[in-house]
């Protein structure tokens, strides 16, 4: 994707504020979408296969008429230590694209839930070897047919697809995961917890 050159701030002092705003409005809308797409690609530092958009922690991106970018994030868990790293990554990515005036804020409400994870995110998790949270949308596993599929009660092994799995520990390597093991292939695996 080619980033259009940044328009230098108006040098002419004779441009009236009204004219300036009218000219800037359409640019601002398209730049809003562009900035949002840029921020949406920031990977989660703990599960780098997911973007913060897949995960549902990116709540809002707003660009005002001065070009100031305001990004709003929501934490998965109250104590998620990745939030500071994500905020830094967002700033770095925007800075690299020429956006220096950036504010990253956090909101707690409405509280994050795994239901906000995109279908794409669930598939990426599975491919990465992490059993995704069972949301409403059933996740195709190992080429499962599309269409109505009964929601399985067991957690399928992300390695071999076996439903014969058990929970080893309700807490895992990060706040959002639990530790499971497959009884069929004997491999341990992480499972993204329902939350």
């Amino acid at each position: 994707m080619v980033t259009p050159p940044t328009v230098p701030p108006s040098a002419g002092s004779d441009v009236s504020a009204a004219t300036h705003r009218a000219a800037a409005a359409p640019t601002s809308r398209s730049s809003q979408a562009r900035v949002r797409a840029l921020v949406a690609e920031v990977p989660d530092p703990e599960v780098p296969v997911l973007t913060i958009d897949d995960l549902g922690v990116l709540r809002d991106v707003a660009v005002d008429e001065t070009g100031r970018v305001r990004v709003t994030l929501t934490p998965t868990y109250s104590g998620c230590p990745a939030m500071d790293a994500i905020a830094d990554d967002v700033r770095a990515r925007l800075a690299a694209a020429g956006h220096r005036d950036v504010e990253v804020g956090f909101v707690l409400s409405p509280a994050w839930t795994t239901e906000w994870m995109s279908g794409d995110g669930r598939r990426k998790l599975l491919d990465y070897g992490i059993a995704p949270p069972s949301g409403r949308a059933p996740v195709g596993s190992g080429g499962a047919p599309a269409g109505p599929v009964p929601v399985p009660l067991s957690v399928r092994c992300p390695q071999c697809g076996s439903p014969d799995t058990r929970e080893l520990s309700r807490f895992g390597s990060t706040a959002c995961k639990a530790l499971w093991q497959c009884q069929a292939c004997r491999e341990p695996f992480d499972r993204f917890k329902e939350h």
Binding site: Y77, S78, G79, P110, W112, F171, G172, L179, H195
Partner: protein, 258 residues
């Protein structure tokens, strides 16, 4: 009736101090728990509590500007207050003496209480407290489940584990009553729809904990001793040692950053 910001700040500080001190005590088990998985579990629980504490302390510190005082950051409040300025209940500060049963007895009571508290505070008239509560309720629900599993396993386990789990409950029980105390500040906030009535939490908390204790073949301790005073800054000897460890680095190297 709209609440006084100073009341809300004190209330947020009390709940934040509960979470922060509990987080520190729980974190002491990391690398000392009976299993590796338990190190991870307690680390996660401590982290949830730390996150809740950060939100609450940040809020308490920010409210000070509404009565003309400079704001205090979460770090100011965590690292630069002395013992008498801490407003946590004593339950969270008592040490475990290396006894895992004690850790679980404390976590069972604390999480059962926090579960009921945060559930109610989701509907608080204070938007920030309601937002913190909506996140925290899901987290402490998980903590309560974890403590429940261990109390059942140890209580209904071997003769040795049963006896030690009972002793742990006996040790923690004199600190339970303080969770349900009211005072004038809380009364005002309950009237304003901001706080949850602590007395109203007694029945559901004790019902939950009592059911776990019964299923674990243990008995609810009988005690006439009721420790109290944490909400007024009166603490056990143990809090001072905890703070000395927690605050040492920040006080020795002021403004140190990662």
């Amino acid at each position: 009736m709209s609440p006084q910001p100073a009341d809300v700040a004190t209330y947020a500080l009390r709940l934040g101090d509960d979470a922060l001190v509990a987080s520190h005590r729980t974190g002491e088990w990391i690398a000392s728990a009976p299993q590796l998985e338990e190190d991870v579990a307690l680390g996660n629980i401590a982290l949830d509590l730390l996150g809740q504490a950060r939100a609450l302390l940040t809020y308490a510190g920010s409210l000070r500007t509404s009565w003309g005082e400079p704001a205090r950051t979460e770090d100011d409040l965590a690292y630069h207050r002395d013992e008498r300025d801490w407003l946590n209940v004593q339950l969270v500060e008592i040490g475990d003496d290396g006894d895992f049963g004690r850790c679980m007895a404390r976590l069972l009571v604390l999480s059962a209480w926090q579960r009921e508290l945060w559930e109610r505070l989701q509907g608080s008239a204070d938007a920030t407290l309601a937002a913190v509560a909506a996140k925290a309720v899901k987290e402490v629900d998980y903590h309560r489940d974890h403590a429940t599993q261990w109390v059942l396993r140890l209580g209904d386990g071997t003769g040795e584990s049963h006896e030690r789990m009972q002793r742990a409950l006996d040790a923690v029980w004199p600190y339970v009553d303080e969770l349900f105390e009211r005072d004038a500040l809380v009364d005002r906030l309950v009237d304003a729809g901001v706080a949850a009535d602590p007395a109203g939490l007694r029945e559901p908390v004790l019902a939950y904990v009592g059911a776990v204790i019964a299923e674990a073949t243990l008995r609810v301790p009988e005690t006439t001793v009721r420790h109290s005073g944490g909400r007024r800054g009166v603490h056990t000897e143990q809090l001072g040692y905890l703070l000395a460890e927690m605050q040492h680095l920040a006080r020795s190297h002021p403004d140190a950053r990662w």
